[in-house]
């Protein structure tokens, strides 16, 4: 346990402590913490826009992912037990981000596949990634890439539900719909927690795709917290970056803690 603990201390806790100190302007010359950076960051328009977009993206994509993957998982586990199908669902996770970016450019650019099949003449189509539909494209990309592992986890959860309970429910007259909602779902809480946590972490990684497709300054609708942090790092606004990172972590920890408390109570 010691090596692991040392590793976490050196590579996680200590750097985080450094960020925390910087966010309060604490250094060898200043021993008095101040909240100036936090005030500036919270008042910063770019930060507010990024937070809004990040919340919006996370708030839509994770519930969608949870629900859709659950439906697919139930369908697969109940009716379509096929290992090839399972492999196909997991395939997007293994795709490198650069390949994915190439794929989306092929599909969503103004000369792309989507414009062609939707009837736009070449060159007059919509640049989906740089339009008001950018967020929809992003959510689609996230779902396409991340549903696989959620489906796998749901399937594992569904299969862990005791067969006897299901049969008992059937005997008691519950139909498929009722068995799903009143027997299966309540038994999937821990899997739900795990999928949401992983989804939350993966939702933050969407930055890579956006950056590769649209650069440092994408369409306003898909300007995320990571864009801001990346640009602040480029401009050496480390204290703002630190404050922003602490705020983001505080939100994440709060959200995770809330989930944990809710599910632990139940």
């Amino acid at each position: 346990m010691l090596p692991g603990f040392l590793g976490i201390t050196v590579f996680v806790l200590l750097p985080y402590l450094d960020i925390l100190l910087r966010s309060f302007n604490l250094n060898e010359y200043n021993r008095t913490p101040d909240f100036e950076n936090y005030k500036i960051v919270i008042a910063n328009e770019a930060f507010r826009l990024a937070v809004k977009n990040t919340f919006y993206f996370t708030g839509i994509s994770i519930p969608l992912m949870v629900v859709l993957s659950l439906i697919i998982a139930y369908g697969i586990s109940s009716y379509l037990r096929n290992s090839w199908l399972m492999a196909g669902i997991v395939l997007p996770i293994m795709m490198p981000v650069s390949t994915l970016v190439l794929l989306w450019r092929t599909v969503f650019s103004e000369y792309g596949f989507l414009n062609r099949i939707s009837g736009f003449a070449e060159g007059k189509g919509i640049d989906w990634i740089n339009s008001k539909y950018a967020m929809a494209v992003l959510i689609f990309s996230f779902l396409w890439r991340n549903m696989g592992y959620a489906v796998i986890l749901w399937i594992a959860g569904i299969k862990s539900v005791s067969v006897e309970i299901l049969q008992a429910g059937k005997v008691d007259g519950a139909n498929g719909f009722q068995r799903f909602f009143y027997i299966i779902i309540p038994n999937l809480k821990s899997y739900f927690l795990c999928i949401v946590m992983l989804g939350l972490v993966n939702s933050l990684k969407i930055y890579r795709e956006i950056y590769l497709i649209a650069g440092e300054y994408p369409d306003e609708d898909i300007y995320m917290l990571q864009h801001l942090f990346n640009n602040w790092f480029r401009d050496l606004k480390v204290t703002y970056l630190s404050a922003g990172a602490v705020i983001e972590l505080a939100f994440l920890l709060t959200a995770i803690s809330m989930f944990y408390i809710i599910f632990k109570k139940e």
Binding site: L2, F5, L6, T9, V10, L14, L17, D18, L21, E28, N44, E45, A46, L49, E110, G123, D127, N130, E216, Y217, D219, E220, Y223, L228, N231, W232, F233, R234, D235, L236, K237, V238, T239
Partner: protein, 742 residues
């Protein structure tokens, strides 16, 4: 117990982080080879080869100002050079390409035979390389080498001798064919294998009866010297000889005559490979010696193990040094002064080389953020630089071109240069050029150079240049072919940007109306250019190739095509001279890009000092150098004008020579009629008038790379029809607004 240990370790680590135990001690380096300069004979202009004589003296084969192919021997008793050969009179009118020792008293020379006797173009075009075996007694023997299988144009094909093996002359031609000739010039064989590999030969050396040919693609080709047939070489030798592509300018090999050791010089170090023991040893690190600034190395290792190296510095000076082993070791200079530039900068390299020659006790090194062949992007380079700076391991001096100096200043990453540089040096720089980098009475950067933008053309066009709409209207009305074409489209866009962009942004607010107008101007010049890019030749960045050539080159189109105007930056003296000639003698007019009556300039090579650097003395030396003697290098660079008032005056003004003279010649096609571009130096009055404008000039705004890139990219999308005007302007506005909000 374990828990206590863990707690203690954690606390120690946390405290160490808080109190900053990451301070770097100054490092000292030890080397075991002592470097001493060897003074060369007077008047040497080219150093070709060296050899150790049977008596242990060193002989060199070199050209002087008046004679080629002189053999000098260094008398070890008197420590003086003695000429050892008779003059080769039949070669006295030839221009040498290369000379090599074959043995102690004979050599091989390739020359452009009787080149100095050519009096006409016809004579010059009939010159051919000549090959000779040359002897100490003055006798020369011409070899007729048949190189017809090589390069298509025989007159340009040159045989380079690389190895003399058992009286066989083995070498290669321009087409990378390997030839072997006997001492009478008869071909023994031709090896065409290298030609098929599409690479170039770096060096050739004979080792244990095989010829190893080092290629610039990193491979080593092996063949039998007698037959030219490919052979399988010794793998460990091959591995030792392999050369990284970027290394080959410094790459040199030497095999001791006894055949036991093989020496290899690369950019990093001198190595020795023991052929018997099959062991490699690093003898010394080149960065501790003067030779690290050199190129075109010749190497010799004498029987007593002394290493002799000759090289040429970037200033053209030829040097020779000897390196002798000292078992006690020598403490060498500390870590080098690192000078960082985001992109490759030839002027900076010359400045650093010149500084190192003048200050041998202080090593300065140039490091680049990214280069054209390292696969990195600008974003990668900036991230790495910032990471290094934040971790305390950043460079000492930073060239701010392409970086956001405001960011580095506001994060206290830069030092106040007033504490480092003498006030007298600062006062020689135009104060308005220093002003953008002055904050709270501190000076945190200095621009070493600058450029301005302008137009030369017919008076009626130049008179309306300041009003872009009227200017473009006049060009459209003229309807002259090629007045804006794909050759100058980017430059024209760059000038429009310089002239109009400040109206589009004010106080970090984007004026969409003016931005639409600017995009309209871009579209108009694109239309004038004839849409030469068209549907089939789309370019992601339509306007990306700007500031590639100065006004003195741009005026070619006035001379050649009689264009009504040209627009270009001025970044060398010839631009001003060419403009003065056209205005004074040919009736043209000129105007500079200005804003609200003030000249607009862009600065170059903005130098700042990292706040973390502790090398104050070395930095002070370096900055003083670049603000004094270094300004001469900037003047010679042809890539920027010096920001030093005295140097600029010295560069542009020549009161005593006010007659036109040819600055350069140009011509197009296979056999062009060459056209001269004329220029007249400025006189004192011209300079004073110009300086009045320069003294109040404003730094071009919105030159942050991100902003310019975004605008030009968006304009390109609009011009090519990829986006409508509203979409293009909207996109660009959103991106800029985001940037300003940050």
């Amino acid at each position: 117990m374990l828990k206590k240990i863990l707690k203690t370790v954690s606390v120690i680590l946390i405290l160490a982080q808080i109190f900053g135990c990451s301070k770097k001690d100054e490092e000292k380096n030890i080397t075991y080879y002592r470097e001493e300069a060897v003074s060369l004979p007077d008047d040497i202009i080219m150093f070709h080869d060296m050899i150790e004589m049977p008596n242990g003296n060193i002989s060199i084969l070199a050209d002087t100002k008046t004679e080629i192919g002189r053999i000098f021997e260094l008398n070890s008793d008197t420590n003086s050079w003695e000429v050892k050969n008779e003059k080769w009179e039949s070669l006295e009118n030839s221009v040498p390409f290369d000379e090599k020792f074959l043995e102690e008293d004979s050599g091989f020379a390739s020359v452009l035979y009787n080149a100095l006797l050519a009096e006409s173009e016809e004579d010059a075009s009939s010159l051919r390389p000549g090959y000779f075996v040359i002897n100490k007694d003055g006798v020369i023997e011409e070899l007729t080498l048949d190189l017809s299988e090589g390069y298509e144009s025989e007159e340009y094909n040159l045989f380079t001798l690389m190895e003399n093996y058992n009286k066989q002359l083995i070498g290669a031609d321009n087409a990378q064919l390997i030839y072997s000739f006997d001492m009478n010039g008869n071909i023994k064989y031709i090896n065409k294998d290298i030609k098929t590999l599409n690479t170039e030969i770096v060096k050739m050396i004979e080792i244990e009866d095989l010829i190893y040919t080092v290629l610039d693609n990193g491979e080593v080709y092996c063949m039998e010297p007698g037959s030219g047939v490919m052979a399988e070489g010794n793998n460990s030798v091959i591995e030792y000889l392999q050369c990284e592509e970027e290394d080959y300018t410094s790459y040199s090999l030497y095999k001791d005559p006894a055949g036991g050791k093989l020496y290899k010089l690369t950019k990093e170090a001198l190595y020795c490979y023991d052929l018997g023991k099959k062991a490699e040893e690093k003898l010394f690190d080149t960065r501790f010696y003067d030779l690290k600034n050199g190129n075109n190395f010749q190497m010799l290792v004498s029987k007593d193990g002394t290493v002799y190296l000759s090289y040429i510095l970037s200033s053209g000076e030829i040097r020779m040094s000897e390196y002798t082993y000292d078992k006690n070791g020598i403490e060498v200079r500390k870590e080098p002064l690192t000078v960082y530039s985001l992109t490759e900068n030839y002027v900076l390299e010359k400045l650093v080389d010149a500084f190192n020659v003048e200050h041998p006790d202080t090593i300065a090194e140039v490091t680049y953020g990214y280069t054209s062949d390292d696969g990195k992007t600008k974003e990668d380079a900036v991230q790495l630089l910032n990471t290094e700076l934040l971790s305390g391991k950043g460079p000492d001096i930073i060239i701010m071109d392409g970086l956001s100096e405001e960011s580095y200043y506001s994060e206290n990453m830069l030092k106040d240069l007033n504490d480092i540089i003498d006030e007298g040096h600062m006062q020689k720089i135009y104060s308005n050029m220093l002003h953008p980098y002055s904050k709270q009475e501190g000076q945190y950067a200095i621009p070493l150079g600058f450029q301005i933008y302008g137009i030369i053309g017919k008076k009626e066009i130049v008179n309306v240049f300041k009003d872009t709409d009227a200017f473009l209207g006049m060009i459209e009305a003229e309807n002259t072919d090629f007045v804006i074409s794909d050759y100058n489209l980017s430059e024209s866009a760059n000038i429009l940007y310089a002239q109009n962009m400040s109206k589009c942004i004010s106080d970090k607010n984007v004026n969409k109306e003016n931005l639409r107008e600017l995009f309209g101007y871009f579209k108009r010049i694109y239309d004038i250019s004839g849409n030469s890019f068209g549907e089939n030749n789309k370019n992601d960045s339509l306007f990306e190739y700007y500031e590639t050539s100065s006004m003195d080159t741009a005026v070619q189109w006035i001379y050649y095509d009689n264009l009504p105007f040209v627009v270009a930056p001025y970044f060398n003296k010839d631009s001003f001279f060419a403009a003065k000639y056209l205005c004074d003698k040919e009736g043209y007019a000129q105007e500079y890009v200005s804003e609200n009556g003030d000249l607009v300039y862009a600065d170059k090579m903005v130098v700042s000092v990292s706040g973390q650097s502790a090398k104050d003395n070395e930095i002070s030396e370096f900055l003083e150098f670049i603000l004094t003697d270094g300004q001469d290098i900037i003047c010679q660079s042809l890539q920027m004008l010096p920001s030093n008032r005295d140097k600029l005056s010295g560069l542009l003004v020549d009161q005593n020579h006010q007659e036109p003279y040819a600055l350069s010649e140009f011509g197009y096609g296979d056999n062009p009629d060459m056209i001269s571009i004329y220029g007249i130096p400025l006189n004192q009055t011209d300079f004073e008038n110009f300086e009045k404008k320069l003294g109040t000039a404003k730094k071009q705004g919105n030159t942050e790379i991100n902003v310019k890139d975004i605008v030009l990219k968006g304009a390109g999308d609009y011009c090519l029809g990829d986006k409508s005007l509203e979409d293009a302007v909207g996109n660009v506005t959103n991106q800029m607004v985001l940037q300003f909000k940050e």
